[in-house]
Structure formats: structure tokens, C-alpha cells
């Protein structure tokens, strides 16, 4: 999707899958020179602490590679569970749905471009 990658998770995440996803994504970011990653987890009913940490790691990996990560569509029950477990995922941006996540990423890009265009002092 333009300069953004969209990852939709449809199956139950298990630990191995999360690691594979992290690897894949890093490769894809470098291959496509994506500037943003949207991870749609609206179909996920269960997220354990490991998966949550994995998302945090993915976001950091992407950031190192100059891409912004947005986690979209988290279910209420998942949000409650994560909060109760004490996982705040402060490093990850979130949005209600893919559309809003996309808007967020675009806004970030606009800002960056505006910064780039600003005359150097």
C-alpha cells in the first residue's frame, strides 16, 4: 500500500509465528523501503505477554529501519487483559481501525516532509 506495509493477522498467534513475523517484516521493510507498518490485530482474541512484547520489539525494529508501526483494531477484551498484566506497550502507536491507522501514518509523513522542506537555518 504505497509506502506502507499492511499486515493482517488472521490466525491465532503463537510464539513461533510471532518470531517468523518479526523476521519477515524486517526483510520486507528493507526490500520495499516502507516508511510505515500497519499491523491489524482485530481478528485476534488472545494476546499473551510474549506476543505483546513481540509487537513492541517489531515496532522498535521497524523504527530502527526508519518505519513507523501502528497497531490497529485491538479488541476490548485484549486491551483489558494487557492492562491487567501491566503491559502498557508505550512504544507502540495504536489506532482503532486500518483506515485511522493509515491516516495517522500519512499525517506523520506529511509532518516529516514539511520538516524536510523547511529551509535550513
Amino acid at each position: 500500500m504505497g509506502e506502507f506495509l499492511l499486515v493482517t493477522i488472521q490466525v491465532d498467534m503463537h510464539d513461533r509465528l510471532a518470531t517468523v513475523l518479526s523476521d519477515d517484516l524486517a526483510n520486507r521493510i528493507s526490500a520495499t523501503r516502507a516508511r510505515g507498518v500497519l499491523i491489524d490485530i482485530s481478528a485476534l482474541d488472545v494476546v499473551d505477554s510474549f506476543i505483546a512484547r513481540m509487537f513492541g520489539d517489531i515496532a522498535q525494529i521497524a523504527r530502527v529501519m526508519d518505519a513507523e508501526t501502528v497497531l490497529v483494531g485491538m479488541q476490548p477484551s485484549v486491551a483489558i487483559t494487557l492492562v491487567e498484566m501491566g503491559v502498557a506497550m508505550t512504544g507502540v502507536r495504536t489506532a482503532l481501525n486500518v483506515e485511522k491507522g493509515m491516516t495517522l501514518l500519512r499525517a506523520r509523513r506529511e509532518e516529516e516532509r514539511a520538516d524536510d522542506d523547511a529551509p535550513a537555518e
Binding site: 501502528v70 497497531l71 490497529v72 483494531g73 485491538m74 479488541q75 476490548p76 485484549v78 486491551a79 483489558i80 494487557l82 492492562v83 491487567e84 502498557a88 506497550m89 495504536t94 489506532a95 482503532l96 481501525n97 485511522k100 491507522g101
Partner: protein, 291 residues
């Protein structure tokens, strides 16, 4: 002892009709009969049944009403007290049902034991003890029934206590009124998050103007709610923090951190509008109109 107990049973059996009619009169004059709540025929039916059960139980020669032989009597009194509690009788009116049996019964006993004060005293004492215990038991059941009613009402209020309203398209408001305990906070969080998912709203305003006190756990719960809304990709504003609560929060050392707090719902709404790129301004007057 054994002789005495069966003696009371005998008295009851022989004079059942008279005792019943006296008892009915007694109940009518004791001002505890409530013709508005219960028909006389129903009361008569209850009285008859109680006399029968009482007689059967007392023949068992046991003064402890917790014993199994008193089971039917206890059950029946429980039933009567429960129905009266629900019908709206007062506790004393309920207890009088049993206690008013004393007078007619004592009158009979006095007649039978004329000239035998020892027997009379013994029988009277036993009957008093028994009827008092049963009266207390009826009050206990009454109380318990009322408590159940209160509990049910509390539950109903609890379910009504977390309304989530849509203030604007994409902005949810959640006014909280009353004390926030952990159970209610949990409910607040759940309803808010579910509504966020349903309406895909971007901003939620939690208004705590109606919350009288706040402690650490309440504050913790609010923080959790804010974090959870962020995880879902929405934003949460807390409004209506009263002076006392602000002081408590600071004194308790609770770190509200980067939570947006506003003094009033209006302030929070303004922030929400700004975040969504909306603006409220005065309506432009039609050009032809004169003021």
C-alpha cells in the same frame, strides 16, 4: 418434663377451634393485621396451619427450635415472613403474628391449671420461650428477605450506573456518579472499551464530577482504563476533578502522568474537538437579517 410437653399439645388439640378464634381476634385488635395487605381468610389459613404444625412439633418434647422436629414450623414461619416482607409488612407486624398467640394460649392454660400454680408457671415459661424464639426467627427471616431485596436493587442500580453516551460523532462521554469501587471500575472499563469498538470513536471523556471520594485503587483503575483505551487506539480525557480529589491524588502520590485532565466536561469536549480537527464558532448571521 415429658408429661408437661404433651400436655400443652393436648391443650392445643382439644381447644384448637377456640384458640384459633381467640388468636384471630387478638391479631385483629393488635393493630398488626393489615387488611390492606392481606385478606382475613388468608390470615386464618396461615394461623390454622401454624397451630397444627406447632402442636405436632411441641409434642416432640424439645424446646430447641433448631432441632429437626421443628423443621416444618421453621419452614412455615420462614415462608410467612418472606411473603410478608415482600408484601410490605413491618418487622414488628411480622413478629406479632407468632407472638400474639401467647395470650389465647395462656388463657387456656390458666383455665386448665387452675389451682396448680407450679404447672401453670412451668407451662407458661416453656410456651413463652418457644414463641419468643419463633418470633425472633420470623424477624430474622424477614430481615434476610429485605436484605435480599436491597441486594437485588443494588445490582440493578449497578447495571444502570455506567451509561456511555455519544457526545459527538467520534466522541464518547462517560459520566460517573457515585463511589467507584473496584467492581464498578471494572465495569466502567469494559463498557467503555466495548462502546469504543462498536462506535469506532476516537476520543472518550470520563467525567468524575459525581465521584465523592477517590483512593489509590480508584485512581489506579482510572489509569488502567486510560491505558486500555490508548491500546485500542483511542484517546481518553478525564474531566471534572474536584478540588478535594485533586488534593487527594497529589497527597497519595498517584502519578496521573500524561493523562489529559480537564476541570470541566466542556473543557474536555473542547480538547476532543481540537484533536479531531473540529471547531465550534458562532453561527454566521444571515446577511439580510438585522439585529
Amino acid at each position: 418434663m415429658a408429661v408437661m410437653k404433651t400436655r400443652i399439645a393436648e391443650v392445643l388439640e382439644r381447644n384448637e377451634a377456640e384458640i384459633l378464634s381467640d388468636w384471630m381476634k387478638e391479631q385483629a385488635t393488635a393493630l398488626t393485621q393489615r387488611p390492606d395487605l392481606m385478606k382475613e381468610s388468608e390470615l386464618r389459613q396461615q394461623s390454622t396451619k401454624f397451630l397444627k404444625l406447632f402442636r405436632e412439633a411441641i409434642a416432640g418434647n424439645n424446646l430447641d427450635i433448631q432441632q429437626p422436629i421443628w423443621g416444618p414450623v421453621r419452614e412455615f414461619i420462614g415462608e410467612v415472613s418472606r411473603s410478608r416482607a415482600i408484601q410490605g409488612f413491618s418487622p414488628s407486624e411480622t413478629a406479632t403474628f407468632v407472638l400474639s398467640l401467647k395470650q389465647p394460649l395462656f388463657t387456656r392454660l390458666r383455665k386448665i391449671h387452675e389451682g396448680q400454680p407450679d404447672y401453670l408457671f412451668e407451662d407458661l415459661w416453656n410456651v413463652t420461650v418457644l414463641l419468643d424464639k419463633l418470633g425472633l426467627y420470623s424477624v430474622e427471616v424477614f430481615q434476610k428477605t429485605r436484605e435480599d431485596v436491597i441486594g437485588r436493587q443494588q445490582k440493578e442500580m449497578f447495571e444502570l450506573s455506567t451509561p456511555v453516551v455519544e457526545l459527538w460523532q467520534g466522541i464518547l462521554g462517560l459520566p460517573i456518579i457515585g463511589t467507584l469501587d473496584s467492581k464498578r471500575s471494572q465495569q466502567v472499563m469494559e463498557t467503555l472499551l466495548n462502546r469504543l469498538a462498536e462506535t469506532q470513536s476516537e476520543v472518550a471523556v470520563i467525567d468524575i464530577t459525581g465521584v465523592p471520594v477517590m483512593d489509590t485503587s480508584t485512581a489506579q483503575h482510572l489509569l488502567k482504563t486510560v491505558t486500555a483505551t490508548r491500546l485500542m487506539g483511542a484517546d481518553c480525557i478525564i474531566s471534572g476533578i474536584r478540588p478535594q480529589i485533586a488534593q487527594t491524588i497529589v497527597h497519595l502520590g498517584v502519578n496521573l502522568g500524561d493523562v489529559t485532565t480537564k476541570a470541566s466536561m466542556a473543557g474536555a469536549l473542547a480538547v476532543a474537538f481540537k484533536r479531531m480537527g473540529l471547531a465550534v464558532g458562532p453561527a454566521r448571521r444571515q446577511s439580510g437579517e438585522t439585529a
